[in-house]
Symmetry: C2
């Protein structure tokens, strides 16, 4: 499907409101690959796991599979929340012959798992064109081969990774030196960022262009790289903006300040396969007689409320702490914020919590 | 602690309001048994699992254990919801050398698990005395040895099981023939009921006296045994009442009627160790092309909402369906209610969903 931005904008420009309609998106579920695996493994059971936003498609994918599968093969859909490749439904994985994880790139390859990435079909260059206004302008007559071209980092999410080469070429053709790298082993692709890992933005450039949906990733990126201007080209919501960390930082300072009064701490060890930081959690509990180790998969306000402790350190997904934190009754902080709250580090040292490695 | 009902009632009789204060309760956490197991197994890790209402005690139990344990033994508390012995935190169980499950009697013995029952210290006979008004009165001069004494069934929950013999003797001394039995293998003790299993009330008596907190269990009991009058002697909230199933039945009929319009069904297979009914779930999905198997541990409105199906059959804990059902956006029914909704059984056949066996 090709976008026609001019026609769309004519009716009323919703680009900066966040209210513009999402593009219709279609996905390739790679059913042939799944059917082949069922055949090769003589599978009796197939497990399907979708991210939250795509769970609604699950029954339709099951329909298509069931129509093509041999009789007697059971298709099961994971009903547990799923927020990333760090969050495999290990119960379903262990109990099905073929286990398919949709919508995320592999955090760790496994013969057991079929990862179906679900690349977006949304065009990216129209919104990148608008984003140029936020990037340093190349000299009109600059030699494309010279070193004078402005450097710009380029990152995206797994969803748009199929267009990464197109993004790079497009920027190069407009006079930019495009700086990219692959992050650490937690990331599959060059230029890919996760909500918890921005190592691919460690490039030599004052500006990084993030092409992707939402503000979730670029805000983390801007926090992790405070000296870099992060320009957001969002082809899904049709918005260009620059990541602003001020509100975010204030919220974190607020949480840390409130946590300073805590007498008793809950230290959350997350049991999701790719979210466990056992050494971090254990170290805190061993050094603080008023800290208690709590194990759980989903970290929710209800679950913590039952314990009635004064504050919580979440060693699992940092995005739960930072994005959902305000929904919790008690302050929830990252491991570094905990060290600030108990006086081991100064407030100014506050950094975004990132996650490295796999499992 | 002994109750003094007369003094308590003088200040304002809250017995029937459900507003009376709960008794102070103290629990024996059997720390010596846990410490002995740590020693015998040379354990490095201890996992503790508490029911929701006792999670707040977790940190205090951890304090006491840590004070007595050798250095370097890590104590972890399960932060996942827990509603019964059917609901072991298998993650924590598999990853700790000593795993302690508090507050429920064993559903299945295992060398790995230490079950600490946490018997209530609340006196039961004062409220049983009040409950006599709801039971058939023995003839004043009846021969205690004769068969003319009125029969009354007696059941309680794991929490009050330590006083079961006292309950029985007390009733016998007042002229009753006390009918008790042990249920099926899901139940540990004679006279014990679970929220999902009332087999111990299959006795030859028109009246069953339930001694225990809340209306959760006796309502299920009354549904499961519709010809029996279930008298509730609640020593925790200090209330006597008779279980009334009318509201409950209306709610179930409402759910079934709404589910009759469903075109697409989600069939929930619960992954909690003691709540799986795989054959039941699979059978429904195999026989209905518009039914989709969803696997999950916690069954919550949020999780089902993501799938956007028209109605749900819950093959897991029946109490989630019946007690929490009204909180869900879409009708959720038990397996039998599903058969009624699709026309395989008549509405009048509606029975309470119970759960048998272990795993």
């Amino acid at each position: 499907m090709s976008r026609e931005p001019d026609a769309e904008y004519a009716a009323g420009d919703l680009r900066s409101t966040g209210m513009s309609l999402k593009h219709d998106r279609t996905w390739d579920y790679e059913l042939d690959r799944i059917l082949r695996a069922v055949d090769e493994r003589a599978a009796d059971t197939v497990g399907l796991q979708f991210p939250e936003g795509l769970k609604r498609r699950g029954p339709r994918v099951a329909d298509d599979l069931r129509a093509a599968l041999p009789d007697g093969v059971d298709v099961m859909i994971s009903g547990k929340p799923c927020y990333g490749a760090c969050d495999l439904d290990t119960y379903l994985m262990r109990r099905t012959d073929v286990f398919v994880h949709f919508g995320h790139s592999p955090m760790k390859e496994s013969e057991k798992i079929i990862y179906v990435p679900l690349f977006s079909n949304v065009e990216v260059t129209p919104i990148m064109r608008e984003a140029l206004a936020e990037l340093p302008a190349p000299a009109p007559d600059a030699d494309p081969e010279s070193g004078d071209r402005p450097a710009v980092g380029l990152v995206t999410t797994a969803q748009h990774m199929n267009r990464f080469d197109e993004m790079r070429s497009w920027l190069e053709a407009r006079g930019y030196r495009v700086q990219t790298r692959r992050g650490d082993e937690r990331l599959t692709h060059e230029g890919q960022v996760l909500g918890c890992n921005y190592a691919s933005a460690d490039v030599d450039a004052d500006h990084v262009l993030y092409v992707g949906g939402g503000k979730f990733h670029p805000l983390g990126l801007a926090m992790e790289h405070p000296d870099t201007e992060v320009v957001i080209a969002d082809p899904v919501n049709n918005v260009v903006s620059v990541a602003d960390t001020e509100t975010f930082v204030k919220q974190r300072y607020g949480a840390v300040h409130r946590a300073m009064d805590a007498e008793e701490w809950g230290v959350i060890f997350c049991t999701k396969i790719g979210q466990g930081r056992w050494e971090t959690a254990r170290e805190i509990v061993r050094q603080n007689d008023d800290a208690y180790l709590l194990t759980m998969d989903e970290v929710t306000p209800d679950r913590l409320r039952n314990f009635g402790l004064d504050a919580y350190v979440n060693t699992g997904c940092p995005r739960i702490t930072t994005d959902d934190g305000p929904q919790f009754d008690r302050p929830m902080v990252t491991p570094q914020e905990y060290r600030i709250a108990i006086g081991e580090e100064p407030l100014e040292a506050l950094e975004f919590d990132t996650f490295h490695g796999t499992w």
